[in-house]
């Protein structure tokens, strides 16, 4: 690792550059098509080219997990659970250029709509932290149930939702009052979220009860409980975690964990269109910008599976680092 002093100076430089280029920020996005995979156990991020060749491995702080680009796709933020920081990667140079300190064991995070704040779940001390991105300081700590994980905000940006894997609930956090205003009990070991693009539904994956709870965001009540069962599997084999939804909201993709399949669902009817065979313990899933390709990280087979969403078939699997956690695509 480069020293943090080094990082800060480069960061300052980059921040200045960015600031200068701000009005044209979106024009900066290179749409490289690069695929980034965080590997929890090998402490690095694999960068693959659009044709799935290894471009480079970016060394990060320990246990890199959730990742998000800024809106301009110039920077990639990576939560590093064992060093209690969110590393910042320059997408152009593919180097760690800065880091934001967090509480113990950051796992999953989300940006506020204006990117001025990060909402991050700290698995070890059971808090949701709100971090000011510019000042790199924690402004608020909100206690959650044990082992908080999934974090997402509502479409209007006024509410943040966080799961507690141990308490089996979704905390509804009102950002104006910075407090938990409601707890919704869902299935066993709730993990991740999606919000439908119309802003009406929050989907929660329940790893150990093999369910997805659909919460009506207008009433904050559970609207529906979905279950999935690829042929030849038992309900207990199905451990849903990662989810992705198309921009028009018509299709939802859910990784089924130990059942080694990706479910592709017609969002409106909830019908399963296909179960796609992927690798061992399918975890996070991301869609390419054109939504023709989905990429699934397989936590136990240390590879990713590329899925063609048109034919709904796996195209190929590519080996990556140890225990891949999250996939994001720069396009």
């Amino acid at each position: 690792m480069s020293s943090s002093r080094n990082r800060t100076s480069i960061a300052t430089l980059i921040a200045a550059t960015l600031l200068a280029a701000m009005p044209a920020a979106s024009a900066l996005a290179a749409d490289t098509g690069l695929i980034f995979i965080s590997n929890e156990r090998s402490n690095d991020i694999y960068v693959l080219s659009p044709d799935y060749q290894l471009v480079t491995k970016i060394e990060t702080d320990r246990r890199p997990r959730d990742m998000h680009f800024n809106e301009a796709h110039t920077l990639l933020y990576v939560a590093c659970g064992d060093d209690d920081v969110i590393d910042i990667i320059n997408v152009a140079t593919l180097e760690v250029v800065d880091a934001i300190p967090t509480g113990p064991s950051p796992e999953v995070f989300a940006f506020s709509p204006d990117e001025s704040q990060i909402y991050v779940s700290n698995e070890e001390d059971s808090t949701l932290e709100i971090i000011d991105v510019a000042d790199k300081i924690v402004t608020t700590r909100i206690p959650t149930g044990a082992e908080p994980e999934g974090v997402i905000h509502s479409v209007d940006g006024k509410t943040v939702f966080v799961t507690s894997e141990v308490a089996d609930m979704v905390h509804v956090v009102d950002l104006a009052s910075q407090s938990v205003v409601k707890n919704i009990i869902v299935g066993t070991r709730p993990r991740r979220f999606i919000v439908t693009p119309d802003g009406n539904e929050l989907w929660v994956s329940d790893e150990l009860s093999s369910e997805v709870h659909v919460i009506d965001l207008n009433t904050m009540e559970i609207k529906q409980v979905l279950t999935f069962l690829p042929p030849g599997f038992r309900p207990e084999d199905v451990t849903p975690v990662g989810m992705a939804i198309t921009r028009d909201g018509t299709k939802t993709l859910i990784s089924l964990g130990r059942a080694n399949h990706l479910a592709i669902i017609d969002t409106a009817s909830r019908n399963v269109l296909a179960y796609v065979l992927v690798g061992s313990r399918a975890w996070s899933v991301d869609l390419s910008h054109d939504e023709k390709t989905a990429i699934v990280a397989n936590g136990l087979s240390d590879d990713i599976t590329i899925v063609d969403t048109g034919s709904m078939k796996p195209v190929k699997s590519v080996p990556v680092g140890r225990t891949p956690h999250t996939v994001v695509i720069d396009d």
Binding site: S105, E123, E124, P143, T144, G145, A146, E147, S164, E165, V166, A167, D168, M169, H171, N183, I185, G187, T188, R189, L208, S209, S210, R234, E236, T239, R258
Partner: protein, 390 residues
């Protein structure tokens, strides 16, 4: 139902009716034996890190903390009532006191004899006992109406081990067992598991601790493990005093399993998947020690009880226990699969870890061991072969 209980319930109904004090008191009882000899390790037996006597209660304390957000949100005011006593009479008195204080579930960290004694006494009380640390199958087949088990049974542990032996194609075992009554029980459980998966037992030999252990141990292990061929040595030595000297001392160069070497356990602190790290490190931070299998079994007992309270509305003991024994319960024990209690013997279904001193080598059920209902039922006495024998 006890008259006092009826009064308490009536009070709750009254309060609920007025919209006041939505909180419902939930008391979880915990009983242990004062200076439990099972936890005495005078000879510095250091291979596994054992909790000191009475301290498995830490597991229950942690579970209350883990669940506090959800119990608060559902209006449950949870307290832990932990007591200990040196003998059965004292424990019966303590149990009655805990029930009188409102406990409807009492977690037991006791040996099989004391668990059986209390389970008989519990028949007259409005309470469900949860056996967290006695693995004896005899407690399961006794079919006590008011007893659940979160300790894996001996058969579950040995089935886990023999699944691994079969997968490795190590099919000839030399069985050694000691003088502790539990040693024969464990060796018998291993023999039954071995028969199920057709592991051959080349010989079964008792060992004893000699008057002069320094010479005796060295000579004896060579002799004990000589004169026959085998793929592995299985040792049943509950106290571990003898077993720890067997690896690397056998007549033939063979792995040692059972009480030393590769050991089947409910939990091992080094397990890193399925959120296990978070559980172990929370426990470590809270107590300053590693989480043992016994700690895990107490933790999961309290967690199971509170999960039942938070996911059901009828909070009578019978209804809560029926929920725990049903497929509706999907309990998270941080072992990657959901857990619940078998309806035929009240045993918690669970994966079993096969661990050395510092690594989990495999988790049973191993891949490829299938079952028509639930693969976890490949571990332990299955429904079809289960018979009550009180």
């Amino acid at each position: 139902m006890k008259p006092w209980l009826r009064q308490v319930l009536a009070l709750f109904v009254l309060l609920a009716g007025t919209g006041l004090a939505a909180a419902e008191d939930v008391v979880i009882g915990y009983l242990s034996q004062t200076d439990d000899p099972r936890y005495v390790r005078d000879w510095g037996y250091a291979r596994l890190i054992e909790p000191p006597a009475d301290k498995t209660v830490d597991g229950a304390t942690m579970a209350l903390g883990d669940m506090s957000f959800v119990t608060d949100a559902t209006g449950l005011a949870v307290t832990l009532d932990a007591r200990n006593a040196p003998d059965l009479d004292g424990l019966k008195t303590a149990l009655e006191a805990e029930v009188a204080a409102g406990a409807r579930f009492v977690i037991l960290d006791l040996n099989a004899e004391l668990v059986a004694g209390l389970a008989e006494a519990a028949a007259n009380l409005d309470v469900m006992l949860v056996n967290a640390t006695a693995p004896d199958d005899s407690l399961r087949t006794a079919c006590f109406s008011d007893l659940l088990h979160t300790s894996p049974s001996d058969r579950m542990l040995e089935d886990a081990l023999t699944q691994y032996l079969r997968a490795q194609n190590w099919t000839r075992a030399l069985v050694l067992f000691g003088e502790n009554p539990r040693d024969s029980i464990v060796a018998d459980a291993f023999a039954k598991s071995a028969a199920r998966l057709r592991i051959n037992i080349s010989d079964t030999r008792p060992f004893s601790l000699a008057a002069d252990p320094q010479n005796r141990e060295q000579n004896n292990i060579k002799l004990l493990t000589g004169g026959t061929d085998y793929d592995l040595v299985f040792v049943a030595d509950t106290r571990g005093e003898f077993a720890r000297y067997i690896p690397y001392a056998t007549n033939l160069p063979r792995p040692v399993v059972g009480s030393v070497g590769l050991t089947p356990l409910a939990w091992h602190w080094s397990f890193e998947r399925d959120g296990a790290t978070q559980v172990s490190s929370r426990f470590d931070r809270m107590t300053g020690r590693k989480m043992s299998g016994e700690d895990w079994s107490v933790w999961i007992a309290a967690k199971a009880i509170l999960t039942a309270y938070t996911k059901t509305t009828d909070h009578s003991v019978d209804a809560l226990a029926a929920y725990m024994r049903s497929d509706a319960m999907r309990l998270d024990g941080s072992k990657g699969v959901s857990l619940n209690f078998r309806d035929w013997d009240g045993q918690l279904r669970m994966p079993v870890m096969l661990a050395t001193s510092d690594a989990v080598i495999a988790v049973a059920p191993l891949e490829g061991y299938l079952h028509k209902d639930n693969t976890l039922d490949t571990l332990g006495t299955d429904r079809a072969e289960f018979r009550c024998s009180p």
